[in-house]
Amino acid sequence: MNILVCVKQVADMEAKFKVAPDEKWFLEDDIAFKMNEYDEYAVEEAVKFRESMPDSNLIVLSIGAERVKEAIKKALAMGCDSGVHIKHDKEYMLDSYSKAYAIYEYAKDKNFDIIFTGMQSQDRGSAQVGIILAELLGIPSVSTIVSFKYESGEVEVKRELEGGKKGVVKLKTPALFTCQLGLNTPRYPTLPNIMKAKKKSIEEIEFSYSGNLAETDKIYFPEKKGGAMIIEGDPKELAQKVVAFLKDNGLA
């Protein structure tokens, strides 16, 4: 089996963001980056599947600046066989179509049987790259999967719908799946596996496609609508304030 998993490196959402002077992105200086949460589930599913298929090859791919190698290395330490880094210093200026196209250019003659992506990226939340990639490759795809089963060329997945309902879908490989939170329990790389991963290769490719259909014009902080009363300080005083709030509202 030839398997591909696509990962994005994103900012820690709890970071204190500052808008960059050109207003196209935020300043990255003091920000910690990590693997997109949805992609951790994608990597875990890909690794589990790969482990159940001895003669397989599992490639992890990421587009972005030099720092995204960390996300690739994490995926290698989780169990991917080798990495592909499509280099682009300003990944945030790329739209979903051009990222999907760049992955398509790489993947089109590699005969991947199964491709996993995250359902969406935590920063952009576009939920597009995986599905567009599948459409470009001309293979079927299922989004938002919360269960994955493979048996002799056929895959049965469950798609998450609203309110806890699920849709069951069957299809034959090749196919692409976008992974939802809760699909599995992503493993933590162990120290020996982190060491082993250092020997795994990461192929570098220059990003060459220039076909953005949409480009970020501006980012900004939303105006605080109504907004909460924010209280900080000594826990005892805070507790008294909360109790007073509850009493004022007849809740305690």
Partner: protein, 305 residues
Amino acid sequence: MKTLLVAEYRENKLLESIYECYGFTKQFASDIVVFGVGISSDLPQFDRNVKFYFADSSKYGEYNPDFHKSLLIKVIEKEKPEIVIFSHSSFGWDLAPRISALLKAPMLTEVVEYKDGTFVMPLCNNKLRRVAKTSGSQIVITLQGGAGQSEKGSVTPELVDIDADVVSKYNFVGYEEAEKKDVDLTKANIIVSAGRGVGKKENISIVESLANALGGELGSSRPVVDAGWVSHSRQVGTTGQTVSPKLYVACGISGAIQHLAGMKKSEKVIAINTDKDAPIGEVADLLVVADLNQFIPVLIENLKK
């Protein structure tokens, strides 16, 4: 601007989201047409006659991306709308990118607002907002729930039947219903919810003890359920329950859109969070900036006094 709205049907029922798409679209579009794969006994109604491109679900079944996409592309080729709008649901976020890919048209996901002639999208868990410049003559949009004012009328649309011959490799087998719930949060007056900020399973009991002290029920955000710390019946949000208690206390919950969708109708909201910029602040009345594991025991002490 000509705009095409995509209606969603599930199990032969039209979903109300079409009226929100309609209300939103009226802000800028003069010419509106609608597409849907459904049943002719349950048609949308608007405040004027709108052309409705209709395919019968008795022929095409429940959502199948191949059928829906082929039918929809036909309508787009005929009508040449400048904007195609979906609701950002499991249906919309699945179908919209396929249309974007086929048309090679830019797609804007989860639009929250139309402002100064552009579409606004959330960025970084809604902490920031983003607007984009697009190229070409068409764009595809998914609309976040709540972005538009729902507008329903009493005029039944004029139907235009459409057909497509497609083979699909996508085999929809059926639905699996949600698990039975062992608690009904929708009836609770007070809900105290635990989010990922609790850090570990053992700390759930800290949040639970606050729920007990206030005489309320324990709720949670999704990661806490995914980790198996709390049962799914306590999950609040789009894929959990929609609640409207008198008091909602969000402990270590950032306030992602999908969580807010389940609790923003609460009368009073208190958030306990170490991050004072957490988006939960948008819907909270009181945001206590503190480590919940240290703060909650102190709060319980004070409640007993």
